[in-house]
Every structure is written in C-alpha cells, then in structure tokens.
Point group: D3
Chain length 165, copies 6
C-alpha cells in the first residue's frame, strides 16, 4: 500500500463506508499521462483473416480504435466515481501477433486527477470491439467461444508534471 500522502490516496468511500467522489477542488491543474495495455487471444486463422484483409480492409481495427477513443471520453459516466476531466490526447496502438492482438492506449489530460481509468476503459473497450468484430469467425459449431479471451489488462505507466505556464 502506498505511503505517498497525496489526495488520491483517499478512497471512494467515507469513514462510514459510504461511496463518494474524491474532492479534487484544491488540486492544481497538471499535465498527466497514463498508459494501459491488454490483449485478446484469438485463433491464428482469425488473426490471419484480419491481416490478409479477409475480415476487412482495416475497418476491424479502425472500429476498435474509435470504440477505444470514445470509451476514454465516456469514462466519467461509465465508472461512477470518476470526474470528468479534459482529455487532450488519446493514442491507440493495436499489434497483431500470431495468436493474439495486443492493445495499448495512452491518455493525456490537463485535469486535476489521474487518467489511468480512462486508459483502462480504452483498452477493455477496444478489445471488446475486436471481439465483436470477429464473433462470426471465433465462434465454434455450438456458438461458444472456447478459445477467445481477454488477458493481461494492466497499467503500464502513470506520470504527472506541473502544467507549463
């Protein structure tokens, strides 16, 4: 557990255990950046289909990028205790490997609180969109997904530096 005494150490619950937002009114505006990553395990034939444009001329990943970016911007309504912060940049990267797609989302803000939840929302939504786009080729004969899965969703880095004036 962190010994770092900044206001973000406060939890989203009061001493009585009631859920609450964190008061960020006294926190300065800061340039903040967070990077999250994760991957979706797919059949090699599905990866091949995406790579060879059999599934689409890039629209699978274009759709996933847009889903990820929109999810980043919507985090304040998806995660109940998140504040709405001004997102200044979102970078999405999808890397096709033999049997998986790795997704990395970097988010930047000038707001009063960190943006790791925004980056995580971008990653999990981006991977869910990929799943949605390849449903037909990933399902087995019973309509199940025995080989599909989302793994290794994590925060790669988080940093802040005072805003340049």
């Amino acid at each position: 557990m962190s010994e770092d005494a900044d206001a973000e150490d406060l939890t989203h619950t009061t001493d009585e255990g009631d859920v609450q937002m964190v008061d960020v009114g006294d926190k300065p505006d800061t340039n903040r950046r967070a990077v999250a990553a994760g991957e979706i395990r797919l059949q090699p034939s599905t990866i091949e289909a995406i790579r060879d444009d059999q599934v689409g001329k890039g629209d699978v990943l274009a759709t996933a990028r847009i889903g990820a970016i929109q999810a980043v911007k919507h985090t304040w309504e998806t995660i109940p205790m998140c504040h709405q912060i001004p997102i200044t940049n979102v970078d999405t990267d999808f890397d096709l490997r033999e049997d998986r797609i790795e997704c990395e989302v970097a988010v930047e803000t000038t707001g009063k609180t960190g943006c790791e939840m925004e980056a995580l929302e971008g990653v999990t939504t981006g991977l869910n969109v990929v799943w949605d786009m390849v449903k037909a080729v990933e399902k087995d004969n019973e309509g199940q997904y025995p080989e599909t899965g989302i793994e290794s969703v994590r925060v790669l880095e988080k940093e802040k530096r005072p805003e340049q004036e």
Copy 2:
C-alpha cells in the same frame, strides 16, 4: 470457424471490407442468455480490506454491480456495431478470493441477436470499477500498479431458445 450457417455468422464488414451492422430484421424474437466472467488480481491486503469493511460497508461491490449493470444496458453505444436489444435480466456475482475478485455477469434478452457482448461489457466494466474503488490502496509508492491486473475475461456460455407464445 463455425459451420453453423445462421445469420450471426455474417461479420460486421461487407465483402468490400467496409464496416457495417448486421441486418437482424428477419430474425425472430428469441429468449437468449449469455454469461461472461473475468477476474481482477489484487493485493491480499486489498481483498482483506474489502472483506473486513475497511474499504467500505459493501459499497465497493455495490458500486461495481451498478457499473456492470449500466454497462450492459449501454453496450449498444459502447460497441459501435451492436444493436440495441431489450435486456430483461442482469445477474452480477462478485466472489472474493485470497488475491483476486472473480466477477460473473449473466444477461438475458428477448431480442433478435445474442447478448455476449453485453455480458462482456458488464464484466470488464465491473472489474474496472473495482479497480477505481481500490486505487488508493493498490498503488505503490511511485503511484504505479505493479500487482493489479484484469485476467481471464471469457464467455462461459451462450444459449437461445424460441420465445414461448
């Protein structure tokens, strides 16, 4: 790849590779159910804190449940090619283990298309909400999350049966 020739085998891209919704206009209304699951790896002390009400009197998981349910209902806007379907039931289950929380979300609909994306959205959002609620106690001294991660997001089952008339 499935040899099951129902309309869901169609992908979200045209033969030319353009992204598209799937036409479900000729599909009958069907009772459908999908169950997805996943887990978030946390420090044992964080699990202990949740269990002993140190983090909150249940509000951590109550917030995660609500986040999951709302995410299920919002899937049609989060996942670009999803249809809006009438959700008739959502069951959320959070199971505290020694070093992780397992989350299972079951979704039922009477609509014209399956609801596995809704269940997956419920699971990933529910787990992200847990992450948000325990951020302060999971972060290390540098504000990073070396031990936190979301794993094993998968579809446990998917079924449909014709609506009883």
Copy 3:
C-alpha cells in the same frame, strides 16, 4: 405492504442484500400507463412574468416540456435498476396557478414493466427545468432561493391492461 403477488413485488436487492435488476423475461408485453404530478412554488411575480410573456413567448414551458420528455426516455440510464422499455406516448401538462406551477406527466408503454419511474423522472426534471429558466428572477439579493421549492411529487395513477392482439 402490498399482498399482490406479481413479479414486481420483488425488490431490487437479493436475499443477501445485493442490488440487482428484476428479471422481467417471463412477463408478457402489456399496455401500461402511469401518471405522476408535482409542483414548483414560485413568486407570484415570476408566475406573472411567465404568463405575460415577460420571461418568454412560451419558451419557458416549451423547454420544460422537452426536458420532461427527454427525462422520461432516459429513465433507464438515470435510475440504475430500471429496464429500458418502449415509450409509446408522453403527455406533459403545466398549469400556472397564482404562486406555483403544477406539472403532470403521463407515460405509456407496451413493455414488460411499469412506467411510474419514467413519469416521476418527467415531473421532477420538468420542474427542475422551470427552476433553471426562472433562476434570475427567483433569486434574492444574496443569490439565494428562499421562496422556491418543489413539492407534492406523487404518482396519481398506474394501470395496466393486456395488449390487444
């Protein structure tokens, strides 16, 4: 407490106390109607201003009507445990009295669950929009609202009848 044993008697919490949606999958489609009402207490001069078009040529109430109708349609996202149901009709009525405006909202649906929450959301939002539209003339010299208030928000009637086939 009601002795009427239909499925709506189930609460939004499980036996263990966890929040949950109610399963409506086995409930038939039914024509349902709910009417809610409420009022906002205003200064007579404010009422006069609205009536004499001093505040606007009807746009105060037009804006309140639209706010109420949109709130009805958004109830499934505003009230966490509500289902999304097909709203077939919304009637809004605003009645100017000497020192208050009475608002009545009737909602009709063909869905599987009642629509009293939709009607209540329409009333409270409609009254809040009125408040917003007359803020400038209701505030006292200190910027406070000593005489403004929303009262008597209630469900006037609720009924259902099987859908005509």
Copy 4:
C-alpha cells in the same frame, strides 16, 4: 427579484422570448458551491426495512448515492440550457427519519457558472432512486402509492469565492 447585477440575472430567453443559453465566456473561473435538499415520505415499515437491512445491506442507499452523483454530472444534458462545468466534488447525505428519508447533496465546481441545478438534480434523482428501490414494499394492494411522495426540494445555500491562484 434580485437587484444584484451579475450576469446570472440574465434569463434563458432573449428579449424576443427565444430560449437561449447564457454567455459565460467573460465570467472568471470561480470556486462555487451549492447545497440542495429534499425528502421522500415513506411508510415507517419501509424505513424500518431499510434500517434493519431487510431491504438490503446498504445497497438501497448506495444505489441512491450513485444515482445522485451521476445525475449531478449529467445535469448539462438533462437541463437543456445548462453549461457543462467541471464538477470537483459531490457530497451526498441520506438521513433516515421515522417516516421519511432526507437527502442533501452538496456540489462544488471551479467553473464559470453556479451549480445549484446540479445539486437539485442530485437530490431529485437520489430520491427517485430510493422510490425505485422500495417500490415493492410501498405499493398498496392496487399497485398504487397513496403514501409515497417527494417534498421540500430546495436550495439550502449557494456561494462563490474567487479561485485561489
């Protein structure tokens, strides 16, 4: 009517009566706070059920808190003429009395306009969520709500002070 000549005295309608937003572009960023309150009248047995955890282990009020907080953040879309302002803090307080629950919501912002509408939206939505959570036990044998009502929704205080630089 206020003689205080600040820009908020402008109404949401033009001289011709057309609805409009208020121009806040020349207003400074200010720390602002507004507190609203209201209450829902319930049967003593319902209050008892909430208090004794018969309705739920706190999830009734946890759900109401979350509904209130989300409503505060969504005010700019619910109330048509409201600006989107950066919400820095939301405090929700629910107080169980013998035959009613009192709800108080405090909202803070660093924006260019006041946040009393946000506080009011938090209160009315929080109370509507309570209503939704106890529907089954408040309804009488005919499915009506003769004893349930929302009352005394009001702004308790509103203040602003220049942002500390």
Copy 5:
C-alpha cells in the same frame, strides 16, 4: 399537404401549440425502411487525398460510417420528439466523386413509427464526420472553409409493410 389520414399526420404540437410526442401505442409493429442521402462538396485535391490513401487507409470513411451508424441509433435523444425504435439494420454508402462525396444511409426498423429521421441523422452526421476528418486540408490560409459545404440532404424513399408473422 398529405391527405393520407394515418396517425403520422399528427404533428408534434397539440391544438394549443404545445410541443408533444405522438402517441404510437395503438400502431402495429411494422417493417419499415427509409433511405436518405446528401453530399459534401470538397476540393478535388481532398478527394484525391482520400482516394490515394494520403489522408488515411480507409479510416476517414470508416470513421464516417461509424459516426453515421451511431447517429442513427441515437436519434431518439438527438431529435427531441422522436421515439426510441428498434433499429434492425443500417446500410451506409459513401461514393467519392471528383469534387464531392455522396452519402446514402438506409435504415430499417420493426417499430411503430417511421425511421426517416434516423436516416437523415445518419446522413448529416456522416457528412459532418467527413468534414471533421479533412479539416486540415480543406481550410484556407485564414482557417476558413470557402469551398466546403453540405448539400442536397433529402429522403430518397420511405416504405412500410406489415410484419410477417
């Protein structure tokens, strides 16, 4: 003016001129389809850039397709008096001409009311997304858009046929 006496002839205003939704509760579920079209006038060099993948490998149009589809699904909240209807299919077509892009959006529903507003929202949003994607190359040296414009937004066809049972 139409002499066709079906319920859609009712306007969104009462006899007193108050805005209202149209009651569709007694209308049968019907398979309905509407097609709208429009075009955006662009500089030939911009069209060339899109065609030659200088602006992007298809992502300009993929983004426009997704924007159009999402706009179709959101029409019930964008157009205040629209009902939420079940969209079963959306087809988007973007045709690059020498100095313009033509966009056609077909929408299908099984609901109780027509979907021409959904098709129109798809077209105007799709064209606005194209504008957004090529802003940098369409602006002149003063940052103005002297040659860019959206034209000829119209409903190409509208039809309904009773649902097959």
Copy 6:
C-alpha cells in the same frame, strides 16, 4: 490547402493512416468562436403554418433551438475524433423565408481547439428537428418528401483570440 502551420493542420489519421485524435495538450486556452449556417427548403404552406402559429405557438422553433443547443454540447460524442471543450455560449437564429428556413448557429469556447464542428452539428441537428416537427404537413400522399431538403450547410466564420488574463 492551408499553409498555416498551426497544430490544427494535423489530420485525424497517423502517417500510417490510422484514425487518431489530435494532441491538443500544448495548445493554449483561447477564446474561439465559429458560426455555421444552413437552410431547410419547405413548402410555402408549411412556412405559413409555422408563421401563423398553425403548427404551434412557437414550439416548433423552440424545439429546434433546444435540439441545436444540445447537439452543440454533444459534439464530442457524435463526431468521434472531437475533443470535449467547454462551450461558453451558443446563439441560435432561425429566419423564416417564403419557402425555406435559414438557421445560423454561433458557438463560443475557451478551449484548446476550434468549435466549427460544434456549430455545424448545431445547424444540421436544428434543421433536422424542424423537419421532424413538420413531417406531417410536408409529406405527400405517398408519404414521401419530394420538396423537402437541407441545403447550403457551411461555416460562415471562425476566429480565435488569446484569452484575456
């Protein structure tokens, strides 16, 4: 193509053609204003009906104004690559001509990026709302709209000046 080398010249696609948001983190807060316009061609009898209050006592245009203002505020979710910027003012103007309604929307922001997309979204949505409000009187006997159309949607002006400190 513009030779103006400011950061807005960057497109929404990377060198590899992937869709992306533009990084605005290093751009200063600036007072910006954009004005867009467009028109809807209607039958003279429809214009007459609106003017003579036959269609409604102003509620047609009040609804269009509100639709336009809400669309401006929602641009960041409607146009996938748009940032969410603080809107400080929206002016809507609807001008009834013999056979058309001209709509002009001016938007002001203090954000890090321009607001012409917000103004365009206001215009196209405002005109679509007008269409929706007069559907019944514009349709011909076959339910088609041979004479209705949206034309001349354009950006009239765009300017920025450094924020006064």
